[in-house]
């Protein structure tokens, strides 16, 4: 097939799925935080609040888009545009699965495989700082400027431990291309331990993983590092002067950054799309088992439901989950769906950790945050890199 047509089709699929994931990530976050706090979360718009993201999008689009008179108009319009553009560009180098052949067309489950993929992601996240800094400055507002400067200083400070934490598994994997990084973690030790970076000899990269996740929390301005943009600090920080769609752009950029960080963590530390135990022990049946168990749970709760409308919605969900379990048993689509399932499962687990931490931890003060980066994270990342390099040189 023509290269450009194929790229266009793949881009359309990836962008469509990504936008839906961003919208429903907000639903997942609200539901999870609600259940952690012993309440229910959105439940009115659609069954279990599933149409809430649609309602939010409609609300944000139809809200009045205020342009305050005292802002610097060019940069006020440019800042959310920059933030969203760079946050969404990073998805173009992330591989979701192996090279597949669909209907005679051989293509990779990735938009483009750069052989400097990891450096590209760094460059894009470095450029994303401009969106935040310009937003704070263009708003012509003391609080927004302070929030914007603090937020961008935080993002830059944590880029350093993040890069050092990423350099350690790269020493073992010896490549910067994201597809080859994921492929370098195929295979199993002793027949059943997966060869992921966090288990990899000579030095299991667990510390790098934890450092990368902490730096990822700080890079995306999530709790506990979200002082520059929390609603009750600094009057919401750098996006205080922004109204409907531009405000939505900043939040879309934040969730897109979160998804990007989770995807990079999955690819570099958790083995990408490779299953946790080999195919011959039946890892192809894990998604079937999970979805079938969910369906059984739905049917079980549908018998005596907590709320009257659940008598109708829960069996419907049960049937849907059974259908999903059935699709994973069909051989012609298994080779596409199974890697996608493992990749998505790992990314969703990391996103759940993001949301779980938000519901649990209080936030750091700004000087505690910066001190943590420079006096703790940076030396620990250096020592980790040093030990990894030593062990890789001694036991090649």
């Amino acid at each position: 097939m023509n290269f450009y047509l194929l790229s266009l089709i793949k881009t359309a699929i990836v962008v469509g799925i990504f936008m839906h994931v961003l919208a429903y990530l907000q639903w997942i976050e609200r539901k999870v935080i609600a259940h952690v706090q012993l309440r229910v979360g959105p439940r009115r718009v659609g069954p279990h609040g599933l149409l809430q993201p649609l309602a939010d999008v409609i609300k944000l689009i139809t809200k009045e888009d205020i342009l305050p008179s005292h802002v610097n108009k060019v940069f006020y319009f440019l800042a959310p545009f920059i933030a969203v553009t760079f946050a969404l560009i990073a998805i173009s180098v992330i591989p979701f699965g192996p090279i597949i052949t669909v209907g005679g067309v051989r293509t990779a489950m990735q938009l483009t495989d750069l052989n400097i993929g990891v450096l590209f992601i760094f460059g894009i996240s470095g450029l994303g700082v401009y969106g935040v800094a310009l937003a704070g400055w263009a708003s012509n507002n003391k609080y927004a400027l302070m929030g914007g400067l603090r937020s961008s200083a935080q993002m830059i400070s944590y880029e350093l431990p993040m890069a050092l934490a990423l350099a350690a598994p790269l020493l073992i994997l010896n490549t910067l291309s994201l597809r080859e990084i994921a492929n370098g973690q195929a295979g199993y030790y002793l027949g059943f331990i997966p060869r992921w970076s966090i288990f990899q000899m000579p030095f299991p990269q667990i510390f790098s993983f934890i450092l990368f996740l902490i730096a990822g929390f700080a890079e995306t301005n999530r709790v506990p590092f979200d002082l520059p943009e929390a609603e009750n600090e600094l009057v919401a920080g750098f996006h205080v002067e922004y109204a409907s769609m531009k405000f939505a752009s900043f939040f879309m950029a934040e969730y897109a950054n979160m998804v990007t960080v989770s995807c990079i963590a999955t690819l570099l530390f958790l083995g990408g799309w490779h299953p946790i135990f080999p195919e011959k022990y039946g890892s192809g049946l894990v998604p079937v088992a999970i979805f079938a168990a969910t369906a059984v749970l739905c049917f079980f709760h549908a018998v005596n439901p907590a709320r009257p409308f659940d008598r109708i919605t829960l069996p419907v969900f049960g049937v849907l989950f059974l259908g999903l379990a059935g699709i994973f048993l069909v051989p012609p689509v298994q080779f596409i769906l199974l890697p996608l399932f493992w990749f998505s499962a790992k990314v969703l687990i990391i996103l759940f950790v993001f949301i779980w931490v938000r519901a649990t931890l209080p936030r750091f003060r700004y000087d505690q945050l910066m001190r943590f980066a420079w006096t703790f994270m940076f030396p620990v990342a250096l020592v980790n890199l040093f030990i990894t390099a030593l062990l890789v040189a001694l036991f090649p």
Binding site: F75, L114, N115, I116, L119, F120, F122, G123, I124, G126, L127, V129, Y130, A133, L134, G136, W137, L145, G148, L149, S152, A153, I156, L176
Partner: protein, 166 residues
């Protein structure tokens, strides 16, 4: 296709460069410089320098220019006062500049030995592997000295910019 990409990114670089010199507010100049660096990163990719292109985005556009933008925001540098340009400069300046560029372009064409056009992918020595190999074998001493240089720069910046302890 390579020619089209070159013309597009060269045009972006020149327009952003002119904007850097012409704009009155420093922050517009700073963002124009970021535009120049982005266009140059794309041109480095065309010339086969993929590591340098990534380093340009990460180091130059992503760190150095952010530092510039921070300082401009902190100092709250306002718009510059209009500079007085003598009429001789205003009316003869641009044509002379174009003539100068034309002469330079002609001389460059004459001096450079005949070489093949720049095709994306013709030069494979710019990968991180090759650069790393050179950097750690042939250019090891400059590499280590650069780390000392950066340490000196960090110390200097901290000493110069700290608050006076009364």
């Amino acid at each position: 296709m390579d020619a089209l990409l070159f013309v597009i990114f060269a045009a972006i670089a020149v327009i952003c460069g002119i904007s850097l010199v012409v704009q009155t507010h420093p922050i517009s100049s700073a963002l124009s410089l970021v535009g120049v660096m982005g266009a140059l990163a794309a041109l480095y990719l065309l010339l086969g320098g993929e590591f340098i292109a990534a380093a340009q985005l990460v180091v130059y556009a992503g760190a150095i220019m952010v530092l510039f933008v921070f300082v401009i925001m902190l100092l709250n540098a306002g718009t510059e006062k209009k500079m007085t340009v003598r009429p001789l400069g205003k009316y003869l300046g641009a044509p002379f500049l174009l003539l100068f560029f034309g002469i330079i372009a002609y001389m460059i064409q004459k001096i450079l030995p005949a070489s093949s056009p720049v095709v994306f992918g013709a030069f494979q020595g710019g990968t991180p592997l090759e650069i790393g190999r050179s950097l750690f074998t042939v250019y090891l001493l400059p590499f280590e000295v650069t780390s000392v240089l950066i340490l000196i720069a960090i110390l200097g910046a901290i000493v110069l910019a700290r608050k006076e302890v009364d």
